[in-house]
């Protein structure tokens, strides 16, 4: 019998035993607190406990499970909310009230609910890992596909008829090559720290369309890519994550609230259940899995929540879905690593973070990708991680290390947020490395003009940044007229295009066709006005025509479903410019 020897916060040690293996899941104490083995020496086995250890005594038993920390994968995950180790919060609330008790044990998926299962195999079929043997509608929007767990193969010897089954009911029996018979249910288990295997990784080829202009146009993210959103507090990280979760064209969203505010998770829950997914016409929650390990919940479970989230995402990717993960925030996860590392008295590297921080970050971001799954379907996992840099200083270790593993960087800017320019993504310090890889897609779908316009828009913004250096020293009045026009146009782009109102029904999501149309109108104005300026007309007169005012309001006045209206702007610009003399 193994017993607790020492206790220090979430770190518990067991003395003189050889019964445990690394990363094994264990139950600690009479209350059966969930824990994981994180270190073994000849004298001590070190365990991190995923719950509070208040009241734990030395001498209480520690139970081995023989398996690494795993999650249950099966129907019932969608539209649900879990803590960092996949315990359903709604069920916990039913059982133990408003507060989360220690040692609560609840099945992650509802084991009483029945699903309308269709078997897709017959007796005698040979199945390999990843092959689908049954399907069922998990929510009205998503069909769940039950797959043979990686590592398994064999012949189907018995199939149940189609009908209603619970997740733990046997729907088929498989005979493995060594003659063993295994019952197949609707669910399986998988260790959270091991990536689920795939057949091969495909090159990046399609964008994840978000309907946010500054992202889709200037800094696009690809399906299967990884992006970071760093920003100090109050710059709108969470708001941007919420917008992406609501509008991006992934099939399934996994939203990880990692060490963030409780009220924020409540807001996501409420908002998503009221929002309607434009594609399926159903509630947004039907395609969403929430993982909430708020800042006051146990720190070790916060560390696990990131892995739990990505494992669930990979499971749905294996079915052939496109999954997007929002992790808010990865800095809190890194801090959990630091906190536990400190308790283990490990040698700290930069700012107290453990030396293995970069490799852990890499392991996480590398689980993103556009894959051919074991069963031949294609699916993707896209990771969008928020970073909360200490003191808003982007040179701190988490931001710097994250930058090495992501290819899209949306830098949020305090000055923009202070002026209430949202999304406060700074166009000078952000970047996306996917533009070249996505070029064929954009060219084919929206015409070559899209990327040309994009380039011109970003050139104008660049030029403005340089001109502003001069304006800051000597004022705008002394600039030559053509440069004044550039500054005016850049203002149009900033206010009329980049700034986007998440609370406005028309502006919260904008299709790429309209994004292109808006750019074209702005650039048309720029070209025509430039001709006028070359003829010697001062910019101040052009300002008075009111053209700019109406261009700024295109975002509200041209509905997403009536883009024909954009064409009215060209004659309007011509007419009004013609009047200027």
């Amino acid at each position: 019998m193994n017993t607790v020897y020492s206790i220090n916060g979430p770190v518990v040690k067991v003395k003189d035993t050889q019964d445990f293996s690394m990363m094994e899941m264990v139950y600690v104490g009479e209350q059966r607190l969930v824990g994981e083995v994180i270190g073994i020496t000849d004298r001590f086995t070190t365990i991190q406990v995923y719950e509070g250890t208040t009241g734990l005594h030395p001498g209480e038993p520690v139970y081995s499970t023989g398996a690494p920390l795993s999650v249950t994968l099966g129907p019932g995950l969608l539209a649900n909310i879990f803590d960092g180790i996949e315990r359903p919060l709604q069920e916990i609330a039913k059982g133990s009230g408003a507060y989360i008790d220690q040692g609560v044990s609840v099945s992650p998926v509802n084991t009483d609910k029945t699903y309308d299962v269709t078997l897709t195999v017959k007796e005698g079929d040979t199945l390999h890992a990843g092959d689908i043997y049954a399907t069922c509608p998990e929510t009205p929007a998503i069909v769940h596909k039950c797959m043979l767990a990686p590592g398994m193969e064999g012949t189907i010897v018995k199939v149940s008829p189609n009908g209603a089954y619970r997740v733990n009911d046997t729907v088929a029996v498989l005979r493995t090559p060594d003659g063993e018979e295994k019952a197949l249910t609707l669910c399986q288990r998988w260790p959270i720290r091991r990536p689920r295997p795939v057949k091969e990784r495909l090159p990046i080829q399609r964008p994840l369309i978000t309907g946010q202009r500054v992202i889709d146009t200037l800094f696009p993210i690809a399906k299967g890519g990884a992006a970071a959103i760093p920003g100090g507090f109050g710059t709108g990280k969470t708001m941007t994550q919420h917008q992406l979760a609501k509008w991006c064209d992934a099939d399934i969203i996994v939203y990880i609230g990692c060490g963030e505010r409780g009220n924020e998770m409540t807001q996501v829950l409420e908002e998503f259940s009221q929002l309607v997914d434009p594609k399926s016409g159903r509630a947004m929650t039907d395609r969403t899995i929430l993982i909430a390990n708020t800042s006051n919940m146990p720190v070790a479970a916060r560390e696990a929540s990131i892995y739990t989230g990505i494992t669930l995402a990979e499971y749905y990717r294996d079915m052939g879905y496109h999954v997007a993960i929002m992790a808010d925030s990865t800095s809190r996860w890194a801090e959990a690593l630091r906190e536990i590392s400190g308790r283990l008295e490990e040698m700290p590297a930069e700012e107290g973070f453990p030396a293995y921080l970069p490799s852990r970050l890499a392991e996480f971001y590398e689980r993103a990708g556009y894959m051919v799954n074991l069963n031949g379907t294609e699916g993707s996992v896209t990771i969008i991680g928020a970073v909360s840099p200490q003191g808003s200083d982007f040179s701190e270790p988490v931001t710097q290390n994250t930058k090495r593993f992501v290819r899209v960087f949306w830098a949020l800017d305090k000055a923009l947020a202070y002026a209430r320019h949202y999304p406060a993504i700074n166009w000078n310090s952000s970047y996306s490395e996917y533009v070249d890889e996505l070029k064929p897609f954009y060219d084919k779908q929206y015409g070559e003009d899209f990327l040309k316009c994009r380039q011109r828009v970003s050139n104008i913004l660049m030029e403005e940044a340089q001109l502003m250096e001069i304006v800051k020293l000597i004022g705008a009045d002394v600039l030559p007229e053509d440069q004044k026009l550039t500054i005016e146009t850049a203002r149009l782009i900033r206010v009329g295009f980049l700034q986007q109102n998440a609370f406005h029904a028309e502006d919260t999501y904008v299709p790429l066709e309209k994004q292109l149309g808006m750019m074209q109108v702005i650039l048309y104005f720029y070209d025509q006005a430039m001709k006028k300026v070359k003829e010697g007309i001062p910019v101040s007169l052009i300002n008075k025509t009111g053209i700019e005012d109406s261009i700024v309001k295109i975002k509200y006045n041209v509905p997403n479903n009536d883009l024909e209206k954009l064409k009215e702007y060209y004659p309007m610009i011509d007419e009004k410019l013609a009047e200027v003399k």
Binding site: Y99, R261, N263, L473
Partner: protein
């Protein structure tokens, strides 16, 4: 049955080590009894086999290895609770110090609390009118929110907190009960007295529960102070159905106490010597604000912290800002020019206001007005920095209008004095008066309809006299 141990093995600052102890749990409370009969409270912070590390709250002066007896109590630190706590004054460790005797507890609760399940929370949407324009219009306080005041030494944060307590309409008119829980951590005697006087003057003293840990009191108790206070707040809110406003001052002293304690335990320090778990620790305090579904009570927190050297990137304000739902930042320049309250508008923010203002809550034009005021005031800063280089005379006409707007905004909108209590209508109308100083085409954050309804250059005439 409780475990008793004679003598100690080691003493190190506020920590004592006991050997050969059995049957003691993590986080358990203990009483250290000296041979002269005096008693001190302690808490188990580490267990290694039979070796137990105990943190002694009143410090270890006078404690020797052989003059003490330790009695373990078999449960974690608890706070006695009953409706009688109203109007009482406690020390930092939750012992009454007002000479009115002990609390007759109807129940006792672990002061560490338990994490509130996010699915059991109700998303806060009801605004609290504080009567202060800069807060009501620009960083609206919502019931169930945690909204800290970031200040610096010597600024008027205490005055502001007192004014909020005096003016805030915490509960609606429906006869709902409200109370204030006030926790002082490491503040001077004068500050504690100031608050006591202010509570008395505004007639709420019998609805205030005070926890006083003065700057000369033991730092170990300071770590317990906010936890005791919040346990009382949660009890009153969620079991007695009251609306509770919690004022925690000063969180920087709290964090420093935590640092001192951490270093005496020999832990590996993080940034500026603060322990690596400062974020989680602060979160375990701030996250205890909120509303529970189905219960007609709420905990609203206004923590106050002084930013060392006015540095907002210092770990304490920085980590606080990441946990709380916005912040009200005070500005030293405004303070010195005599503006009260000296709220620095641009970095101040309330994350919950977007769902608690506008039609049906405050007034339909509120979101637009606050947005426009922010954006206009941001432009004032640009114009000012340009003026400081090229001189005000050389500015463009538009920039000059912004400078004028900025001056009037600070003079009339921000500066309102300690005794003025403005309704939300007054505040928003004042906002329109000021916006009317600007040319109409500069109002790019407002709907044309609203501009037609409210914008009128005549409104601004009084500022120009």
């Amino acid at each position: 049955m409780s475990v008793q141990v004679l003598g100690l093995k080691e003493i190190n600052g506020p920590l004592v080590v006991l050997d050969n102890v059995e049957g003691v749990g993590y986080d358990e409370m203990a009483e250290v009894i000296l041979t002269d009969g005096s008693r001190r409270l302690g808490r188990v912070v580490q267990i290694e086999g039979k070796r137990v590390v105990l943190q002694v709250f009143q410090g270890t002066s006078g404690v020797a290895l052989n003059n003490v007896r330790t009695s373990f109590q078999g449960h974690p630190m608890e706070m006695p609770l009953s409706p009688e706590v109203m109007g009482r004054i406690f020390n930092g460790a939750g012992t009454p110090v007002d000479g009115l005797g002990p609390i007759f507890a109807t129940k006792r609760e672990d002061i560490n609390g338990k994490p509130l399940n996010p699915v059991s929370r109700e998303y806060p949407v009801n605004y609290i009118r504080t009567g202060i324009s800069s807060i009501d219009a620009l960083a609206t306080l919502i019931r169930g929110q945690k909204l800290p005041i970031f200040s610096g030494s010597g600024m008027s944060h205490n005055k502001l907190a007192a004014q909020i307590v005096k003016q805030a309409r915490i509960s609606d008119d429906k006869g709902e009960k409200f109370a204030v829980v006030f926790a002082a951590m490491g503040v001077t005697n004068d500050v504690a007295d100031y608050f006591k006087r202010q509570f008395e003057e505004s007639g709420v003293l019998e609805r205030v529960v005070m926890f006083l840990n003065l700057s000369s009191d033991p730092i170990i108790e300071r770590i317990l102070t906010p936890r005791c206070a919040l346990t009382v707040a949660e009890y009153l809110a969620f079991e007695q159905n009251m609306h509770i406003l919690v004022i925690l001052t000063d969180m920087t002293s709290y964090a420093e106490a935590l640092r001192e304690f951490s270093s005496s335990k020999g832990e590996i320090p993080g940034r500026k010597g603060y322990p690596g778990y400062l974020y989680s620790d602060l979160a375990s305090i701030y996250e205890r604000a909120g509303i529970v579904k189905g219960i007609n009570g709420s905990v609203t927190q206004i923590p106050i912290l002084t930013m060392p050297n006015d540095d907002i990137t210092h770990p304490v304000p920085d980590l606080t800002g990441y946990i709380t739902e916005g912040q009200i930042v005070l500005d030293r320049n405004l303070d010195q020019t005599g503006v009260y309250p000296p709220v620095s508008v641009l970095p101040s923010l309330s994350r919950l206001m977007k769902d608690g203002i506008g039609e049906g809550y405050t007034r339909a034009d509120h979101p637009g007005v606050s947005n426009q005021l922010f954006s206009a005031y941001a432009k004032v800063q640009d114009a000012r920095s340009l003026a400081s280089v090229i001189g005000e005379e050389e500015l463009s006409e538009a920039d000059k209008r912004y400078l004028e707007f900025g001056r009037m905004f600070e003079k009339h909108f921000l500066n309102q004095g300690f005794s003025e209590n403005r309704t939300i209508e007054q505040t928003l109308d004042l906002g329109w008066d000021l916006l009317s100083l600007l040319p109409r085409e500069e109002l790019d954050r407002l709907d044309d309809k609203l501009i037609d309804q409210y914008y009128d250059p005549e409104r601004a005439a009084r500022f120009r006299q």
